[in-house]
């Protein structure tokens, strides 16, 4: 009985002490004085183990060597990451270096992690470190672009990071002008469509971490102007793909019993229901159709319903067809 009383007394004292630390602000949160001895080790070890427990499996890592993917990652890195981690080979700002923990220079940061772990860290961020989560959920797919860039840094093959001081059309151009593949062409779209997409990215109605970052990097009142600029600016023709009639053409024009006919809405200039697809980049089409099919994109009820039963093969066939016509 006496033992129990002592225990209760000690527990009460402990709780009281903890309440005093919180209530009277006794714990010093200063980033300048640093951690108490041992705390850094505990925090860092917890971080390492937590990441390796939760990171996706190695075999979920897609091919990351596509130069367009790497460039897209570099473009996002320029405004979203470089402010803390610095561009490769360049010093971090004095302010970033004064954080606790200080964000490691990017070349040093990537050295400790594999691609799957980098993906988890970029997607989820890390509590109490200042490392933010990816701006939207369920877009694990686009995180791989940044991972591709980081892996390229590790391998010493990374392209230059675009200047973070770019603004307006020059800023948009740093991805939409110079990169194909996963980055869509804008010149084929009408201006009002482009403006509506910028709004949708800004509000999160259309989820994309990369475009959410971009839409907050340019002033909202410039959306109409940017949309008009890109809509009227013909892109350089991309050589390559052979127009594929046959299967893709038939599927787009007539659909199947499970797949609506694409051209009913995406037919071209006159039927203005959906965005124009002829001449769009193939990799972009594949990724967007897959996102629609998987229910990640749902900002248009018609397209969500239309894509529901697409097979992987139909997605690649259609993407190849639309990319190959009207170049």
């Amino acid at each position: 009985m006496r033992g129990l009383t002592t225990l209760a007394l000690l527990a009460g004292l402990g709780l009281g002490g903890a309440a005093a630390v919180v209530g009277f602000g006794l714990f010093n949160v200063s980033a300048q004085v640093g951690h108490l001895p041992g705390v850094t080790w505990v925090l860092h070890t917890t971080f390492r183990n937590s990441v390796s427990l939760r990171a996706p499996a190695d075999d979920e890592v897609p091919p990351l060597s596509d130069p367009d993917l790497v460039s897209l990652g570099a473009g996002h890195y320029a405004t979203a990451c470089a402010m803390c981690h610095g561009a490769p080979g360049e010093p971090r700002s004095a302010t970033a270096r004064s954080m606790l923990p200080a964000p490691p220079p990017i070349t040093e940061a990537v050295a400790h992690w594999e691609a799957n772990e980098l993906h988890w860290i970029i997607q989820n961020g890390a509590k109490m470190t200042g490392m933010p989560a990816w701006p939207v959920e369920k877009r694990e797919d686009e995180v791989w672009a940044v991972v591709a860039f980081l892996v390229a840094i590790k391998g010493g093959t990374a392209p230059d990071v675009p200047s973070p001081t770019l603004t307006g059309t020059a800023y948009c151009q740093s991805c939409h002008g110079d990169i194909g593949g996963p980055v869509p062409r804008l010149d084929i779209q009408p201006a009002d469509y482009l403006e509506a997409q910028l709004d949708a990215y800004l509000t999160g109605k259309r989820p994309s971490g990369i475009m959410a970052q971009a839409a907050t990097h340019v002033p909202e009142n410039s959306f109409a102007e940017l949309a008009a600029y890109f809509s009227s600016k013909p892109a350089a023709p991309v050589p390559g793909l052979v127009p594929e009639e046959g299967l893709g053409a038939a599927l787009a024009a007539q659909g199947t019993r499970d797949v609506p006919a694409c051209l009913a809405c995406h037919g071209g200039q006159e039927t203005g229901k959906g965005p124009r697809l002829f001449g769009q980049n193939e990799a972009y089409l594949v990724s967007q159709l897959t996102l629609w099919r998987n229910g990640v994109l749902s900002h248009d009820a018609l397209m969500a319903a239309a894509a529901r039963e697409l097979t992987d093969k139909e997605i690649t066939t259609l993407s190849r067809y639309f990319a190959s016509v009207g170049r």
Partner: protein
Amino acid sequence: MLAGAVVLWLLVNGAFYYTSKVRPGAFDQRHARNILIGGGIVLPVVVLTALLVWGLSILPDLRRPGDGLVIRVTGEQWWWRVEYWPEGADAPVVTANEIRLPVGQRTEIHLTSDKVIHSFWIPALGGKMDMFPGRETMISLAPEKVGTYRGQCAEFCGASHAWMAFAAVVMEEGAFDQWLANEAADAVEPVSEAAERGAKIFLTEGCGACHAVRGTDAVGQVGPDLTHVGSRQTLGAGRIKVTLDDLSDWISHTDLLKPEVKMPSYDLEPEQLSDLATYLEGLK
């Protein structure tokens, strides 16, 4: 059937009246035994045996070869894809959600299904037959009386199973041939300005991605063929009539009328909706 029900009702209530009012009190043992053996064993054995023999004897009729016309019906969620194959035809006449049969002829109905099991049943004309994905079943029907009967899916197939019905219309042979010829033709041109506007809306809103209106750019195959939707008895597989109001309701509140239906509800301006309904109603 009504007469039979009346007779049974009179018999049951008569027996009740007899034992409670006319002759209350216990029967003697011999009487009681005769009633049990006669009414409990002999009567059911005789009646059920006769019914079984008769039932088995007409069962093969449902599988008898038809007189020429074949109707191919595919169960969809939740509607009926219907193709008419007149004897010797090399392409079908495509329609939906309505079965028309010539009276006095035996018609083969070939049944299959898209994704889940359905069951084809016109209670007034014959037995049920299940419809399986990837497999064809057959039932042949020889209706004897002209009229409109109700058909219904008789196998639970999802959220809107109860709303998966159709009209079965039995017609004189001449009328049937005329109907089929009309059904085989392309859609009629819109006759009013409203209908013309509606036809344009049908295409610009992307309706043609899923629905075919033969003779126009709408060639979709996901949903019912609408070439002659205005001449059908029902809309949405037995759900509502095909009036202007019903068509507007259907287009704007599809999922309320048919839960979990694939077709999305359309948010159109009232005038657009009315033009579109006018166009569809005119597709006779």
